[in-house]
Each structure stands twice: as C-alpha cells, then as structure tokens.
C-alpha cells in the first residue's frame, strides 16, 4: 500500500459543509483499499473532531497522514480552547449551546467517541488560543481488527 497525506480547511459554523472533510477522507481511504472496519473507525473519529472544530472554533484544519503502518489525523482549531480536558473526556459532559444540540450534536460524546475509535489520542488545548486533537489508528493486520 502506498502512503498519502493532505490537509482540509474547516470553517467555523459552516454547518452546510460540516462533515465534508471526513467524507473526503473516507473516500481516500476507500481508494487505498483500507479495511472497511478501520475506515469506519477513522471516519467516525475524524467526523467528531471535525464537528467539534466547526461547532466551537472560528476556523481549523484537518491534516492526515496514511502509511502502511498507521493512519494519523490531526485537527487543529482556532477556538476558545477546552478549560478542563479531563471533564471534556467524560461521556455526557458538554458546553454546547442549545442550537447545536438541536442539530443532533453537543451531547458530550465527541471526545469519548474519538477515544473509543482511536488506538492513540492526545488533546492539547490552550484557553483563548485553540485546541489540537491528534489521533492514530494502527494498520498492522492484528491491530486493524482489534477494535472493529
């Protein structure tokens, strides 16, 4: 399998295109012949991270790097930052406003859901500056099916 990398730019509050980056990423993974169970995990985690950036930040970018061993995704945003990452990792904890909940998001499952689907996750945030969510999913045959 070949390697690939690239970047998608995300615009805050652009709900019309929210999810388009993850959708494109899914297409790239399908084109590379990645197993479907792995694609589902990557796509779900990427979509949650993308939605977070679009909901909370002014702008952001999603970069990806795919090698035969690993898929790495990094979503960096210029948003308000997360005050308490430990709390944000708890299922059901959310600071999302009502209009976001009415859209079906902001139920406090985003980061926990990324954690569930990724093999490795790091969240770095600085109040007033932004948040960077980085996660990876292993592609070696044994790991690829372990969380499917």
């Amino acid at each position: 399998m070949s390697s690939s990398e690239g970047v998608f730019f995300l615009t805050g509050k652009d709900f019309k295109n929210a999810g388009a980056a993850s959708s494109s990423l899914k297409g790239i993974l399908e084109g590379m012949g990645i197993p479907v169970a792995v694609i589902r995990r990557v796509s779900i985690a990427a979509f949650e991270a993308e939605m977070n950036a679009i909901i909370y930040a002014v702008a952001g970018m999603m970069s990806y790097s795919i090698t035969p061993e690993m898929i790495k995704i990094r979503v960096q945003d210029m948003g308000p930052g997360i005050e308490n990452i430990e709390l944000a990792m708890k299922e059901g904890y959310s600071t999302a406003p009502d209009y976001i909940r009415e859209m079906g998001f902001g139920s406090g499952m985003g980061l926990p859901n990324i954690k569930k689907n990724a093999d490795h996750l790091t969240v770095n945030s600085l109040a007033g500056e932004g948040t960077t969510v980085e996660f990876s999913i292993n592609l070696s045959p044994a790991e690829a099916t372990s969380k499917a």
């Binding site: 019309k16 929210a18 959708s23 796509s43 779900i44 939605m51 079906g104």
Partner: protein, 126 residues
C-alpha cells in the same frame, strides 16, 4: 419471554409496513436490513450503531446524512412526516443512502419493525 430469532427485512417491505414515502434511492428497495438504531442525537448514532443498520430519526439536516455515511448506515427512515430539504436529499442520493419518510411516531415505527422481528444494534435478543 419468548425469544424470536432476529429477522432480516427488505427495505421495500419496511416502506410498505410504515406506509412510507421514498425520498431518495427508490431503486434500492430490494436492500436487506439486519439491524436498526433510532436516535436524534448523531453522536449516539456514531457511538452505538453498527455497520449496515437502518437509522430511524426525527432529525433532517445534512449532518444526518454525513453521520450515516461515516457510520456506514444503510438507509434512513424519518418519522412523523419530518421531511428533509432538497440539499439533504441530494446529499443522500450522492452517497447512495435511501431515504424514507413515514407519518408514524418514533415509538410506532420502532414497534412495528420490532414486531416483524427486526432488532437493534445492541446485540440483545428478545
């Protein structure tokens, strides 16, 4: 409690059972559905649904289609005559996800499908 083996349903039969209208991908009515998940919270769909299931929801925005796409949902039923806009329908068409809309409530929709033997994504059998 009587344990019934879960049934596989044909999407066209689901359409007839729910007296549903088809909004997208009418050509896919022969599709087989093995499991269903219902929610208005897309994060719940992302967290708890399984591949190739049917999504039953009252939410009609484009994120429902995006959610279905990444969670590999096979088809969507909108309840209580909640109709998505043309943008949402076009996206579903592009992503090859059939859309149905029924007048029935969430409870009645799920109840009728359950009665026919369709089961949830939880893996629990009744």
């Amino acid at each position: 409690m009587v344990i019934i083996a879960p049934s596989i349903m044909i999407l066209g039969d689901i359409r007839d059972l729910l007296h549903a209208a088809v909004l997208a991908r009418g050509e896919d009515m022969g599709m087989e559905i093995e499991r269903a998940y219902c929610a208005d919270l897309m994060s719940d769909v992302l967290a708890f649904s399984i591949s190739n299931s049917l999504l039953i929801t009252g939410l009609t925005n484009t994120q429902v289609i995006r959610t279905a796409e990444v969670a590999t949902i096979k088809a969507i039923v909108f309840i209580q005559n909640k109709r998505p806009d043309i943008q949402t329908i076009s996206l579903a068409d592009e992503k090859k996800i059939p859309l149905l809309v029924t007048d029935l409530s969430m409870f009645d929709t799920c109840g009728l499908l359950f009665e026919k033997g369709l089961r949830s994504c939880s893996g629990l059998e009744f």
